[in-house]
Amino acid sequence: MHEMSIAQGIMDVVKQEMTKNKMKVLLKVKIRAGKLNAIVPEALQVCFDMLLQDTPWPGAMLEIETIPIKLKCPKCSQEFLPEDQEYMGSIIQAPCPNCGTDIGHEIVSGKELLIEYIEAE
């Protein structure tokens, strides 16, 4: 259950941004979460809503965009998205669709954990 720590991290950054931009009401937070981070969106939502209760804007929304895992082949430099993104096993055992190499793929995306923007007034 790392979702509570992640919700806390979101809140820390959001509070700073609200002050910095002299905003009064937070309407929405949009985050990007890589598939490899194994975040359960429902759990993160519950934690976020819980922490919101201690803020002046308890009705703010959270939008979570899951970023698929993209790999880069070490041999032919082809970037590819493993087809089955739901099952981790098939993601990390995916051979390069171009040359078939199956060792040493670089992770191009799927590990990010970012706040993209907030909406506030």
């Binding site: 509570m4 070490p74 990390i92 055992q93 060792i103 706040i115 923007y117 506030a120």
Partner: protein, 220 residues
């Protein structure tokens, strides 16, 4: 209005981790973040490792558990400096907890600091604690499908210790499959087959450790 942010959610943890790392680097202390599921043998592995190296190196252990001081007591019996962190429910250690623990330690001249994380294959992989390397431990009874199910840890670890190999004759664990899967996303990972109970395979692991300590002393 829409305000672009583009900031890391865990930036606070990472800033503190960077601070810690700078302090450890200045001290030439090798810091290893030991991660596995509960019961994989982290504490047993540490006890054997510490006992083997305690005459050569000055070492310390930060012991993370949700509850109890049982593991810290086992470690302390080796005579090595140990600090227990009880997370009271949290499933991983973070850099603030490590910072607080180091306040209670004598870091002067420390060659190796082991951080034994809370038993969990998911969350600890996400939170840096100022370590040089993550060391993943996977025990044979857990099954050979774990790297597929928890790819983040196995893609970031510098070393994979396959522990409890004394049980290999009794279980269907495909070592070659694990090696292949782990190397898909982490081709330079070092894999050592050990038994923390019998000491089998420990020479290679201890040699790896000694070489990393030497490198750290030379400021690499």
């Amino acid at each position: 209005m829409k305000i672009p942010v583009i900031r890391k959610i865990l930036e606070k943890n990472e800033e503190r981790a960077t601070e810690l790392r700078e302090r450890f680097d200045k001290n030439n202390t090798l810091v290893l973040n030991l991660i596995s599921s509960p019961g994989a043998g982290k504490t047993t592995l540490l006890v054997r490792t510490l006992s083997a190296l305690k005459d050569q190196f000055k070492m310390g252990v930060i012991e993370g558990d949700i509850q109890t001081t049982a593991d810290a007591e086992r470690i302390a019996q080796t005579g090595v400096q140990t600090v227990q962190i009880n997370t009271e429910g949290a499933c991983h250690l973070d850099s603030n907890m490590i910072y607080a623990a180091t306040q209670k330690m004598d870091l002067g001249g420390l060659d190796i600091l082991f951080v034994e994380n809370v038993g969990n294959l998911v969350c600890p992989a996400e939170f840096k604690v100022g370590e040089d390397f993550k060391i993943a431990l996977l025990s044979i009874p857990e099954g050979d499908d774990k790297p597929e199910k928890y790819p983040l840890l196995f893609s970031e670890a510098k070393v994979l210790l396959l522990n409890k190999i004394d049980l290999l004759p009794y279980l269907d664990f495909d070592v070659e499959k694990v090696k292949r899967v782990v190397k898909t996303l982490n081709k330079d990972i070092e894999i050592f087959m050990v038994s923390a109970k019998t000491g089998q395979g420990f020479d290679e692991w201890l040699t790896w450790l000694k070489n990393r300590v030497l490198e750290k002393k030379q400021g690499k």
